[in-house]
């Protein structure tokens, strides 16, 4: 089963081409800031779709410009929630110090 990440189309394009990096992550999050535990993925396609719509609306002003990305969990350095690192149901995350291990093409866009 893949894991999913929902975001706006600009951030999605950057992740597809470049993988993860902390600068892009910090820049995209802007005012409220990024979730310090890391880059979140979810087991639920619907949850990812909801996040894609919200991030696109929040950042680009158009909910239809959201994109859901998917990847195989065995290819990602995923961490689980633990006390002090709260997660949603079905959520796992990639810690910022592991971003360099997530290069281009590990994520694909969900049609």
């Amino acid at each position: 089963m893949p894991v999913f990440h929902g975001t706006d189309e600009v951030s999605a394009a950057n992740i597809l081409v470049n993988g993860l990096d902390q600068l892009s992550w910090e820049s995209a999050a802007a005012g409220a800031g990024a979730d310090p535990k890391g880059f979140s993925v979810t087991d639920s396609l619907q949850v990812a779709r909801d996040w894609a719509h919200w991030r696109a609306l929040e950042r680009l002003g158009d909910a239809d410009r959201g994109v859901v990305l998917e990847a195989h969990p065995n290819n990602l350095p995923l961490a689980q929630g633990q006390p002090g690192h709260w997660t949603d149901p079905g959520e796992r995350f990639i810690r910022p110090e592991d971003f360099a291990r997530v290069g281009p093409l590990l994520f694909q866009a969900v049609p």
């Binding site: 910090e26 800031g33 949850v47 909801d50 929040e58 002090g84």
Partner: protein
């Protein structure tokens, strides 16, 4: 873009930031600062609720507000009319800036974060699409 951040997240031995004290120190250090109204984490959750985001998204943003707040955002004016975006939260203090930021300004931001005490300083600058981390 570039950023520089003092990060205490995950350091269980470090105290969290006193956001009010950090912002006061910002005011003293950078006279041309504009502190933005409202807590950006709270505003983010409020916007999501008001604009019809899914309930689980609003819950997550409220949880983030509780876990990572309080937060405060501010802007520091610089000589060429640009601004440095600043943000203080419970576990981190971050500056975001254009990659053309002069070295002297970068040094001032770095020195400011150092004076706040313990934590990891993280930084990167994107020079014409080439991302440069703290080790060059």
């Amino acid at each position: 873009m570039g950023f520089i951040k003092l990060n205490r997240f995950g350091d269980h031995n470090a105290a969290v930031f006193d956001v009010v004290a950090v912002v006061e120190k910002v005011r003293q250090t950078f006279p041309d600062v504009k502190v933005l109204s409202g807590d950006p984490l709270s505003l983010s959750a409020d916007r999501a609720a008001a604009q019809g985001a899914a309930d689980h998204i609003v819950r997550t943003l409220r949880r983030n507000q509780q876990d990572y707040g309080p937060a405060c955002a501010f802007e520091i004016g610089i000589e060429d009319g640009g601004t440095i975006q600043g943000r203080a939260r419970r576990y981190d203090v971050t500056f975001l800036f254009e990659d053309s930021l002069e070295e002297e300004w970068y040094r001032r931001l770095f020195a400011f974060l150092q004076c706040l005490g313990s934590g990891r300083i993280e930084a990167a600058v994107d020079h014409d699409g080439v991302k440069v981390g703290p080790n060059g």
